[in-house]
Amino acid sequence: MKPKNGGRTSTVTSRGRREWEETTLRPGLGKKPERKKEFTTVSSLPIERLYSAEDLKGWDPGARLGFPGEPPFTRGIHPTMYRGRLWTMRQFAGFGSAEDTNRRFHYLLEHGQTGLSVAFDLPTLMGRDSDDPQAEGEVGREGVAIDTLADMEVLFKGIPLDRVSTSMTINAPAAVILAMYLAVAEKQGAALEQLEGTVQNDILKEYIAQKEWIYPPAPSLRIITDMVAFCASRVPKWNTISISGYHIREAGSTAAQELAFTLADGIGYVQSCVDAGLDVDEFAPRLSFFFNSHNDFFEEVAKLRAARRVWCAVMRDRFHAKSPRSWVLRTHVQTAGCSLTAQQPINNVVRVTLQALAAVLGGTQSLHTNALDETLALPTEDSARIALRTQQIIAEESGVANTVDPLAGSYFVEALTDRMEQEAWDIIRRIDEMGGIVPAIEQGYPQREIAEAAYLYQRQIDSGEKCVVGVNRYTEGDNQKAATLKIGADVEPAQVARLKDVRGSRDQERHSKALKRLEQAARTRENLMPAILDAVRAYASVGEICGVLKTVFGAYREGRVSL
């Protein structure tokens, strides 16, 4: 982070710094050397001893920072930020059957949570029904099992969908799950125009990091552009894609890679919608982001500030969006699951607190704080409550929400923000040279970079170069026990039985007609959403609908994975 145009600074400043180095620093170092030869972030970015005005030479606060609510949005997307409204405290929940999760939702709402966030089980995430042979042992384990509209009706029972905002973490089958949500809302008598929420719907990061795919990239992007177009006209408040760095980071990337690959995915979606003939200002304001917050406090703050600045430039200068609403990067943040330790699990509360604080000082719009036991199993009610209370303490006791972007102007934070931005642009340029994010994925570029970073980090932990308290340092006294949530063995057979009931009792003719119509739509350029909605209303299952689309679009297979 050395100044690039050295020598042009005011003589007073540079002499001051040099004098300090001569008269104060050097004797100090002689008496007491530094703890390490090199200081780096958790992502191995080198950090200097001291940041001063020289590190921000030629740095123009008007251009680099602006004011909150104004381009380039470094200081935040709202003029008053958390003085006006706190971030949304949105804890992800879902397990077992729809009834189990519905009960947890009511519990969280009663305890002051302000938005719902649904976790689905793996079979649902992969577009498979609970009775699919591949689903054996996985039904309801990591999230709630949803097969048909009947399950979705139970999931949101007693929750007026026009009065909550709901985030659904679903990607490959997102169109089906969104259609089910809309169908439940219709049955409740809610107007689609009033619905607020998000589907993750970010398939590109699935190929890169999380690996929950169904179809190849091209038809997947077609489904996504269909959803974007449908929502722009029918469900205008819905966030259609949550462009996610979270999983990229969890897969082992550095902070800068997380930032760059996520923004490159975003560019891929915008390009694909523009290519499909949509007006950028009609859909761009409904795109949102989802970042990770890992252990390295300032690196995370800088990452989020840089993300807003890069996205503003991308939307304004690359895609020529006219509305400032299209330039804004709104984001959700989740603390880093991969940073939690099974050893001395109560220490995780402290990690989560620091990570959450970084997200808040980075200006997030909503936040999920992980529970202390999430490296062992899904959270219990008690641990989920502590995680929520952590956010409430940051929001209402610590005072950090009293002013907008309190770290702005810090030599270090601004220099690090510039560095993150530069790293992001470098990687984005490289991806552009490959022809965009889809060719880059097909060549395995982000996948390789991430695996490499993950392996390096693991070796740094194994060698003790990077400290993980309770794992490779301060390991004595590991007698803390966390209670873990148990998913009953009865969930799977009960869910399979319920699906069988629905299959037996639905209007068979309506069902097969709807699936036939869906297949026809898939073979043309017709928007798929109305046909998916019809199929869902006819109680077609997630597996049946994705199965029909798979016959038309084919299935994705990962290329050879080189170690």
Binding site: P133, E136, L563
Partner: protein, 138 residues
């Protein structure tokens, strides 16, 4: 039994089920390879049948499975059963991932030889494999 001195120990590192979390599996596969073992990585979304077929076809000495999906109590026993049916019960099966303590003893009782939990170092895994996975008599 150190690799290189006699017959190299062959290992299959596998991801079974729908779980796509392959960070750990890839790190372990690479660490074992760097430690001198012959390592085959199955890639994602394998069924127990596919893993057992690959293990026998590739004539491996050990199978390491990474599971973060909560399906370990179903998948491990199924693989052990299939191995037994196909005369592969001398293949050492071990694993790791998000596996609660109380499930580990059950899995070990069923024949899983070792279960590594989050925080285990790659060196621990390498050392354990060196000490516990002999080449099969072929």
């Amino acid at each position: 039994m150190s690799p290189g001195t006699e017959k190299k120990v062959r290992l299959l590192v596998g991801k079974v089920g729908l779980d796509g979390h392959d960070r750990g599996a890839k790190i372990i596969a690479r660490a074992l390879r760097d430690a001198g073992f012959e390592v085959i990585y199955t890639g994602l979304h394998q069924t127990p049948e596919m893993v057992v077929a690959t293990a026998l076809q590739e004539d491996v000495d050990g199978i390491g499975l990474s599971l973060l999906s909560g399906a370990h109590n179903t998948i491990f026993p199924k693989i052990l059963r299939l191995l037994a049916e196909k005369e592969g019960s001398d293949i050492v099966v071990f694993g790791g991932g998000i596996i609660p303590e109380e499930d580990i003893s059950t899995l070990k009782g069923a024949g899983v030889r070792q279960v590594f939990t989050p925080g285990a170092s790659t060196q621990e895994v390498v050392d354990w494999v060196r000490a516990n996975v002999p080449p099969r008599r072929r």
